[in-house]
Symmetry: C2
Subunit: 583 residues, 2 copies
Amino acid sequence: MLLRMSSLFLRTLRDDPADAEVPSHKLLVRAGYVRRVAPGIYSWLPLGKMVLENVTRVVREEMDRMGAQEVLFPALLPREYYEATGRWTEYGDTLFRLQDRKGADYLLGPTHEEMFTGMVKGELSSYKDFPVTLYQIQTKYRDEARPRAGILRGREFVMKDSYSFDLDDDGLKRSYEQHREAYIRIFDRLGIDYKICFAMSGAMGGSASEEFLAPTPTGEDTFVACHTCGYAANAEAVTTPAPPAVTAEHPPLQVLDTPDTPTIETLVAHVNEHFGLGVTAADTLKNIVVKVRTPGSDKTEVLVIGVPGDREVDFKRLEAALAPGVPEIFEAADFERHPGLVRGYIGPQVLKDLGITYLVDPRVVTGTSWVTGANEPGKHAANVVAGRDFVPDGTIEAAEVRAGDSCPRCGSALSIDRGIEIGHIFQLGRKYADAAELDALGPDGKPIRVTMGSYGIGVSRAVAVIAEQRHDELGLVWPREVAPADVHIVGTGKDNQIEVALDLAAKLEAMGLRVLVDDRPGVSPGVKFKDSELLGMPTVVVIGRGLAQGVAELRDRAAGTKEEIPLAEAPALVAAACGVTAA
Amino acid sequence: MLLRMSSLFLRTLRDDPADAEVPSHKLLVRAGYVRRVAPGIYSWLPLGKMVLENVTRVVREEMDRMGAQEVLFPALLPREYYEATGRWTEYGDTLFRLQDRKGADYLLGPTHEEMFTGMVKGELSSYKDFPVTLYQIQTKYRDEARPRAGILRGREFVMKDSYSFDLDDDGLKRSYEQHREAYIRIFDRLGIDYKICFAMSGAMGGSASEEFLAPTPTGEDTFVACHTCGYAANAEAVTTPAPPAVTAEHPPLQVLDTPDTPTIETLVAHVNEHFGLGVTAADTLKNIVVKVRTPGSDKTEVLVIGVPGDREVDFKRLEAALAPGVPEIFEAADFERHPGLVRGYIGPQVLKDLGITYLVDPRVVTGTSWVTGANEPGKHAANVVAGRDFVPDGTIEAAEVRAGDSCPRCGSALSIDRGIEIGHIFQLGRKYADAAELDALGPDGKPIRVTMGSYGIGVSRAVAVIAEQRHDELGLVWPREVAPADVHIVGTGKDNQIEVALDLAAKLEAMGLRVLVDDRPGVSPGVKFKDSELLGMPTVVVIGRGLAQGVAELRDRAAGTKEEIPLAEAPALVAAACGVTAA
């Protein structure tokens, strides 16, 4: 279907939309691909719909290729399904809730774990029916507090979500691995630059999990990357390489008077000035008390966490490390109930006697010596040696990760980068199968609890991510697989330039290329060139001044190169530039 | 992608679902194509999703072919767009309304007139930009009071809606005609049997309008059809052929005492018994008083309507005839305000003097003589002649249409049939353009008000309609274009029958056919045959007992025929049966 600019429903804009902050948002609006309807809610114009459809096609092809079967759930869902798993309330304000004319409660599906699980339970019963992987490409709804960045984080968006159902952990691992490979093929085909990051399972309650993050300067997510060995992880998933244990002899523990030292800085300054210790913040051991609540109950356990004094506790890392337990602040009233814990002066020396669990940062290895609290108001202790003066109950990854920290795989310096989550693969395990009592009848007639994987791709988001990664100051630069057209032919308008452009367009289309042709009469060449750069087709052909000499100009949008080609050979040469060989 | 029953996510059911009333609902559930989630809300299983996708593809191809451009609007829409046209309230309980976390009002789009109009207004400004036709294939929401019949009338459903934007009435007619032709191609390709029915524009406020109705015994809509000339129309749109005027002399008007004749039946009996008139109900003239309200105001006008006494007034026809005016019941209090109108005894003789408009059924032509009210309690009049004793102000199509009435085109007897609306094309005119002030700047610099057409196809409903029209007592009978597969190969399971079936499947797939193969081990031939009939692929091949003799069985699902074919020639013969010639 030849796309003619003279009739294409398209208006390009000179100015960035007032509410746009990131390049993809500015460009997709300026180039007439999307339009805002409400915060986080967008319409797709013809060129945008084509890109969305191309992305959808790639995702569908690769999901089909891995043997996943496509289904389609409704977006409007009755409360009962989400009530059973507690998510009707857990989702909080993020869930769009509504009532029908009879007053029955409904929601707009933010994710469909419950529905997939229920569908499999409804259809399958025998171990012979497994494994099975189902997917859908469907519109989802989340009432984000701050919808931003155009279609990067919308409130109505298109997702591919899939679920694998296996009878054992090995099966789940295979399904997970198949998805991982399919995702690699998908994002490669979409021309997205991505990192596969280790991710903690977090609140979803499973085990292995990886995120596909697209590095962009404007990304909402931060991740940790090693540019030497390629290691990448969420901050929550980064592991700290433990230094070797220290065998040196240390002087005995020494209690120091440290009045007016409420912070690590004041403590370090005080002990260096008054006791000549010559320590830094990294030599101090900061002890944080938290309560850990068992989800679904009011039971809490007291926990002390020790991290080097130069690092903050990263609450997200702490949450991930304690999951499914939920950390809560240890408040003044809690301290009153535990007089052994002297606020501001806690040292690990007394924790064993108090019966309180003590977890330390992996850097706190046996034989290391620390300045820490002395468990008396106004007093700290020096030469507090791990393994001698206290023995931790284990380690915990709760300290903040910083650029320059050692890569857990190769030891090089890590960097902290920004990115956008475009995919997530996740060994969910039996959480939803347990909730739904999803069993297969085994060969011995006994039930086998099914284990699940959960896998998502942000389909509409991927369009924005590609725009975010593939643009320059002139406009969009689409990879061929997702571009609305392979080639954009600009007929500049004098003499018979437009007729020749249309003729070339017809020839290229007959060769199987998707063609956009600028056949607008009375529009200046400058405007047409600007539009061709803004719209971003991978190959541009100009039928302009050279026509009299029988030449056209062939431009590569991404490389920024231009060359003159003989018009007679244009069909073959343009097709070749688009990767198509003439029959 | 070979579909193998051994791994296909499918469970067929022996029994009809308890809530199913119509064949398509029963069969689509039993054959594992759809599953109910909530009233009027369904999930699509893999085979169902394929049919839905096939229907979508046909619709998209034909819309693209006619030059319509595809866009995509959100389903979640802010109130403001629908407030401007009054439909936020007009839609009543049918509209799903909700609020976001900030308390802002939203709705789930039941139809998108406002959005399309707004989009065109936002993008286009010059007369050169027109005409343009936009469409989308998108999920819509209507909170039907009685969702029924599975996906025939859902609360969440897929629609193709399109709108044409033209600068003048001729352009609108062309756009309308193009849609009409595209719809004919679409429904022909989908294998749907349909009638194109004249339809009144009704509440939408435009002019020409036709509905595509699929005749089915279980249809919710009734329509009038002439099986002689092919005329078809909504009851609202049927016109009554006027008989020729009567020139015979009639005796003078005669007032009759008619006590205790509250109904036409008692009146007819009374006048025949006491005055020997020998009339039937069709010779009496029944006069109905209504108030007609101007929409958006409280102003009403009194109107009397005269119809032959053997017919009821059809309120839907009356509404359509009076639109945009809204008929309202003339109540007791209204009669008190109009003492000239004697309830139960109204005759048209006095209406001119009372200054009340009188409209009659087209059968009430000049010279016809009637028994009607004498405008006094307990009295009627005979020999009341149209044109002599009263002169109507015009005619109105308000009387019920009955089977056997004359076709307005050819005069044959009409039948009243049932059907399901699958498409609607409609010359909307300037209603929404006026509301949005949608103008194009003309060549003379003056604004031209745009005129619109509105066109819809129920995409998910079409799946059910095909099932409703194409099934037998054994199961579904899909037309090839929408079937999940061209051919269903049944390997019955003994010896190497399944291997041979898989081998044939691979060969057919390589020839471009879509193949479903029943390779389930340990399932009886009887169950496999039953499933193949229920699932409804157009061509079935059985690799069974004949294998030893080198023959397979080729079945045509629709024709119910079976023939033995040599296995060696099976690929070419099966492909030919599927309409594909071997290369």
